[in-house]
Symmetry: C2
Subunit: 213 residues, 2 copies
DNA sequence: CACCCAATACCGGTTTACCGGTAGAACAAA
DNA sequence: TTTGTTCTACCGGTAAACCGGTATTGGGTG
C-alpha cells in the first residue's frame, strides 16, 4: 500500500559516490519520491537527521566511520517511523539477522536489479520485510545457530524464573521457597548461563520470547 | 477432554468439616475420581503435598492459618500441573482476579449446585477456567480498576524502555543516547511510577504485557 | 561403582539499581 | 502569562545484583 500522495523523502548513506549515483538514477524512475539526500559517512547522516527526517534510508552497512548495526539502531531509536533498508555487497547470514534485529526492514545486495530495488522499496513501505533474491536464498538455508537445542530449565529454575519475572528480589524468592538466598542466586546464575544472557532483564526477555514459563 | 482412564486424585482444603463432607458427597457421583483427601488447614495440606500429589485441589481461600492467595501460588509453584479451584462463600471482584493471577483455574461459590461443581471440574480439567454462575456475573461487570487509562510513555521513555529490555545498564543507555546517566535514571524512575511497578523486572513485564514497545 | 546432574550453600568483592529528594530549560496549551 | 509536560541533571545513601570461584549432597544411569 504505497501512499497515493507522492512524497517520500529518501536518504542514501554510502561511502562510494558511484553507488550513490547509481541508486539515484535507479530511483528516479520510481513515482512518489519527493526528495533524495545522499551522505558518504554515518556521521554526516546523523548530523542531518538531527533536524530533518527521512521516510526511507538506504543504508550501506559497511561504512568507514561507524558500525552499520549501531547506526541502524540509532536511526530507529531517533526516529522509529523511518524505514531502514540495509544495502551491502556481501551477504552473511548472521549479519543479515543482526541488522534485522536492529530494526532494518530489509537487506539488499548492491548487485540487485532496478526492478528488485523498487519491489523491495514497496514491500518495506507497506510494512513488510524485503530481501533481494540472493539474500532470500541465504536466509532459506538454516544456520547452525538456529539448530542448537533450546536450553531447557529444570523445575526449580522455572519456579525461580517465574518469581524473577514478578520482580521479586533474590532474598524475597528465597523466603518464598524456603531456601538460602545464595542458593537462589546460584540458580539465577545458572539460568543466565544456559540462556546466554548477562542479567535479569535479558533473562526475562528470553523467558518471554521463548515462552519458557 | 477428560481422561478416559479414571484416576484423578482430589484434595479438599477447607476449615469447615461440614463443607468437606458436603463436597465429598457431591463428588462421589463423579466418575474418574480415584482418591479424595481432606485437610482443614493450609499447613496440613502443604505437609501432605511434600510427598504426595493431587490432580485437583478444591481450595477454600478463607483459611484460618494461611492466606489463600499465597497458598494457591505455593501450590502452583510446588506442582504446576495441579489444578486449583478456588472455593469461597463470598465473591469480590478483585479477589477473584487476584487468585486467578496466582494460578487458580476457577472460582466457585459454596452455594453452587452439584451440577455446577461437576461442570467446573470438567472445564478446569480440560485446560479451561471455570466459574460458578454468580461469579461469572461479577466478572462480567467491569471494575473501575480496569477502566483507568493506560499509562502512556513519552518518546524518550519508550526509547529508554526499549534499551532496558535489552539488558542495557543505565550508564550504557546514557552513552548510547548521549545523555547523563542521571537523566536516564530519572526517566526510568518516572516510567516505574507511571506503570506502578517497583523495579526493572516488573517494568519489562509491564512493557511486554501491555505491548508498549 | 563411577559419573553426571540437580539442588543446595558459601565467600569476598565490584557494579548497578533503587530511593528520597531538588531543580532548570524548552515548549505548548489554556 | 501562568500552567503543565517533557527532558534534562544533580546529591547522598542503602539495597541488590553480578562475578569469580568452590563445595557437598542425593538421585539416576551407563
Amino acid at each position: 500500500m504505497l501512499k497515493q500522495t507522492a512524497d517520500y523523502t529518501i536518504a542514501i548513506v554510502d561511502d562510494h559516490p558511484v553507488v550513490i549515483e547509481g541508486l539515484r538514477i535507479l530511483l528516479q524512475g520510481v513515482p512518489g519520491i519527493a526528495g533524495m539526500h545522499a551522505f558518504t559517512t554515518g556521521g554526516e547522516f546523523m548530523d542531518w537527521m538531527a533536524d530533518h527526517t527521512a521516510d526511507i534510508v538506504l543504508l550501506d552497512i559497511m561504512l568507514p566511520d561507524v558500525n552499520g548495526l549501531d547506526l541502524c539502531k540509532d536511526i530507529k531509536l531517533a526516529s522509529p517511523e523511518t524505514i531502514v533498508l540495509a544495502v551491502s555487497n556481501q551477504a552473511e547470514r548472521s549479519m543479515i539477522l543482526q541488522i534485522l534485529q536492529n530494526g532494518a526492514s530489509g537487506y539488499l545486495l548492491k548487485n540487485a536489479s532496478a526492478a528488485e530495488f523498487r519491489r523491495c522499496l514497496e514491500e518495506a513501505l507497506s510494512g513488510g520485510v524485503a530481501f533481494s533474491r540472493e539474500v532470500r536464498e541465504i536466509l532459506a538455508r538454516p544456520g547452525r545457530a538456529e539448530l542448537k537445542a533450546p536450553a531447557t530449565l529444570t523445575r526449580r529454575e522455572k519456579q525461580i524464573l517465574q518469581l524473577v519475572t514478578e520482580g521479586k528480589t533474590t532474598t524475597g524468592i528465597a523466603k518464598e521457597l524456603h531456601l538460602s538466598p545464595l542458593t537462589v542466586e546460584t540458580h539465577r546464575r545458572n539460568m543466565m548461563q544456559k540462556l546466554e544472557v548477562k542479567n535479569a532483564a535479558e533473562l526475562i526477555m528470553a523467558a518471554v520470547q521463548r515462552k519458557l514459563l
